[in-house]
Symmetry: C2
């Protein structure tokens, strides 16, 4: 039995987001995506990806000279972990209060509220 990968750090989550959005990619791919938004050295991304591989957060395919990295877990699983973690640590398990915090952190559109209602319905039906 292997242990679950630990909760990703901020920098790691940023990289995971790129891998989730674009699918598996090389360090170059990830770096380009991140450097487009903030100045970052190539080797910083490389090193972080190596650490993430050691932690089991990403898998690495070394058959090519430029290794190809892939998120070890689908975004849903990691997100569930993060949401559940915050729910426990900061909200004493109250989903209601977590949602309230999220909603009040910024304006929610009517469309989003409708989505949320539908989600509750689907959840109750077991559709999701």
């Amino acid at each position: 039995m292997t242990t679950d990968p630990p909760r990703p750090t901020d920098a790691e989550l940023e990289i995971l987001t790129v891998l989730w959005n674009r699918g598996p990619g090389t360090v170059r791919d990830v770096h380009d995506a991140i450097a487009a938004r903030k100045p970052t050295q190539y080797t910083t991304v490389l090193k972080t990806l190596q650490i993430m591989a050691a932690k089991g957060l990403v898998r690495r395919d070394e058959t090519q000279r430029a290794h190809v990295y892939e998120a070890a877990l689908p975004s849903e699983v990691t997100r569930r972990q993060l949401a559940g973690d915050l729910l426990t640590r900061a909200f004493s398990g109250s989903a209601r209060n977590l949602m309230l915090g999220a909603l009040s952190s910024r304006k929610a559109t009517k469309k989003e509220l409708a989505e949320l209602r539908k989600l509750l319905d689907d959840y109750e039906k077991g559709t999701v």
Copy 2:
């Protein structure tokens, strides 16, 4: 204009939770609450509270020999910050997906789902 206090760390959040639940208290108070759940040295809590005071996460009343600490911000504000932060960093701003993550991290009761629906209604009415 003062800067907002930074996002609390795990250990800091644990202490804030005690202060939110019990109101202002001494290091002794906080330590007793935490040590009841996991072995922790008194001075660890003391040191962390001192650091938190320096960061502005808590306020300190030194008029008594045993200083009295108080959360600098109400739980709602810090929680909003944390929820908003996770919403942005891990969920690309999708409240729907954050809620899905929270719900799927553990079973939700019928009562809780009702609470959530009511929250959406209240939010739409501006009641909350």
